[in-house]
Symmetry: C2
Subunit: 124 residues, 2 copies
């Protein structure tokens, strides 16, 4: 049952679920690569298969995940399917990570690098 979390606000869970899908979609390097390609131009599936070393079905599966996360949109054109980016959806990621912005904009980075005790875990 994957999650052990609290099932409190139903509406909150919906958008939280949406955020979850987006973060999950974006966690895969191939899918980020696809999004980066779509940032340049709308593309057919064949266009998207070409740059990668994996099969067409694999790309189609990635595209499905991106679709379900609302990150791309498809349009039929002849026998092709042209995928276009829906970049606005990435705002969820942006908004989250922006909370951490001060860590690289302020100078308190200088405070880092002391007491770097990553114990045992480093080797693994």
């Amino acid at each position: 049952m994957t999650r052990a979390g609290s099932t409190r606000t139903p509406l909150g869970d919906v958008s939280r679920e949406h955020a979850r899908r987006i973060f999950l979609a974006v966690s895969d390097p191939t899918r980020r690569g696809i999004l980066d390609l779509l940032l340049v131009s709308e593309s057919s599936v064949s266009d998207l298969v070409r740059p990668f070393r994996i099969s067409q079905p694999a790309i189609s599966q990635h595209l499905r995940i991106l679709r379900q996360a609302g990150l791309v949109r498809v349009r039929r054109q002849g026998r092709e399917r042209r995928y276009r980016l829906r970049g606005e959806q990435l705002r969820a990621v942006y908004d989250w990570v922006a909370h951490y912005e001060r860590f690289w904009t302020e100078k308190l980075q200088a405070l880092g690098a002391y007491l770097d005790e990553d114990v045992a875990g480093a080797a693994e």
Copy 2:
């Protein structure tokens, strides 16, 4: 750096691998929750266990992943281990997603919502 290039340079693979770990670490909602807690204050493991409904070992395992991604740092203090955020590492995520910023800052959002043919996939 981290660009969509070929899998050639070994150094490129290292940083790409690092980026991969960071995105993967951040893809889990519990781990994002942990980071959000650490944004407020340095915390012991017990502090981090309390807000969640999962076991202490589960949290420790999440912390290991965050450690390996370089997103947190540990310090021993008596019998506690105090975790502190290393927010600068999230810059990789920020830099990536910032490429998409125009999608929600510009007005060309108005162009969206026409030809919304998400076919078949919508139901699933």
